[in-house]
């Protein structure tokens, strides 16, 4: 992998961390608010279904996770297990696809 690509990956991880910091705060605040209000699952779904703003928010959240986690794992695999090279990078691309797939399935569940 070229040094430029490694640098762009590093930047993507920093940028996605900044997005995640905001997303996690909003997500936690929403959970606490919903629980205190005594909303049921059905009532929550009634608010999220068809709501484009929530869809956009969680779509960004899922994308940030799918970018952030595999890049971080790439370093963990190298430093803790000595796994470097293309096989690791392809495995992590697959991991990113799985994360994004599972995340979007959840987003679709509360939107559609």
């Amino acid at each position: 992998m070229s040094r430029r690509t490694e640098t762009l990956l590093w930047m993507a991880q920093r940028a996605s961390a900044a997005v995640l910091a905001l997303c996690v705060l909003v997500h936690l605040a929403t959970i606490i608010y919903a629980v205190q209000g005594g909303l049921t699952g059905a009532e929550i779904l009634a608010r999220t279904r068809g709501n484009t703003a929530w869809f956009a928010f969680y779509a960004v959240f899922v994308l940030a996770v799918a970018v952030h986690a595999p890049i971080g794992l790439r370093v963990v695999l190298a430093e803790w297990f000595g796994w470097r090279g293309r096989a690791r990078d392809f495995a992590l691309i697959a991991f990113a696809v799985v994360l994004a797939g599972m995340g979007f399935q959840a987003v679709r569940g509360v939107y559609a």
Partner: protein, 238 residues
């Protein structure tokens, strides 16, 4: 103050073991004094390295009670626990014998980080005029006093986990040159310090900054390199 110190000293190579010595306790005694006493009065086969004894040469760094230090500037008072010392060679470097670590890889990494100054002027040219107040000159000044003792390198957990990592001292040196207006090899240097085995591998543990006997902050320099590399990557210059 007890009359003697119980000193465990690493003997042998990578597969060596600690051997225990009893050393007379003296006032204002440094760890280097302790090692010297062992070699001169108890066991002349002990190998260790030193030169200036006053914190200028950077050759006497060892691991003292688990932390890398200049032994010449470390008073026994400050590090002995219950009259006990454990002295070993620097971490993250191959052991040649006893307390002597092989520094080749450490200095080779300075070269790999493009730590050499490359200028365009000859002795026939006039001096480049650089204001001492300029931002770049001040950044270089903050990092320039490194004497290459290897303490930061031995303290760095990233070097331990990622042996190819260039390490704090080499990157600190590169940072002084990135801020040198006279240098003509900036592109090659940024490429050399980018990537998974260079500045981007730094986890900002700050062990180098905590341990540097010159109170430098390689961590700050590496952060500066990360910014410079990011800019270069976005501009397609990496």
């Amino acid at each position: 103050m007890s009359a003697t110190l119980q000193v465990r000293v690493w003997r042998g190579g990578a597969r060596g073991a600690y051997r225990e010595y009893e050393v007379p306790r003296r006032e204002s005694q440094t760890v280097l004094d302790v090692v010297t006493h062992i070699q001169r009065a108890i066991d002349p086969t002990l190998a260790y390295r030193y030169a200036c004894r006053v914190g200028m040469c950077g050759s006497c760094a060892m691991t003292v009670n688990g932390a890398p230090r200049w032994t010449c500037r470390t008073h026994v008072d400050k590090v002995a626990r219950d009259g006990r010392l454990a002295i070993a060679p620097l971490r993250n470097l191959p052991v040649i014998r006893d307390l002597v670590a092989d520094m080749r890889e450490f200095f080779d990494k300075w070269a790999r980080a493009q730590g050499q100054f490359k200028g365009a002027r000859t002795r026939a040219d006039d001096f480049e005029r650089i204001s001492p107040d300029s931002e770049a000159r001040r950044r270089a000044d903050a990092a320039i006093e490194c004497i290459g003792c290897g303490v930061c390198y031995a303290a760095c957990d990233v070097v331990a986990a990622n042996p190819g990592y260039l390490g704090p001292a080499a990157l600190n040196r590169a940072w002084t040159l990135v801020n040198d207006a006279r240098d003509t090899a900036q592109g090659a240097r940024l490429r050399a310090v980018a990537g998974d085995r260079a500045s981007l591998a730094c986890h900002t543990h700050m062990s180098c900054t905590e341990r540097c006997p010159k109170a430098l902050s390689p961590t700050a320099g590496i952060a500066g390199l990360k910014r410079a590399i990011s800019r270069a990557a976005l501009q397609g210059k990496l």
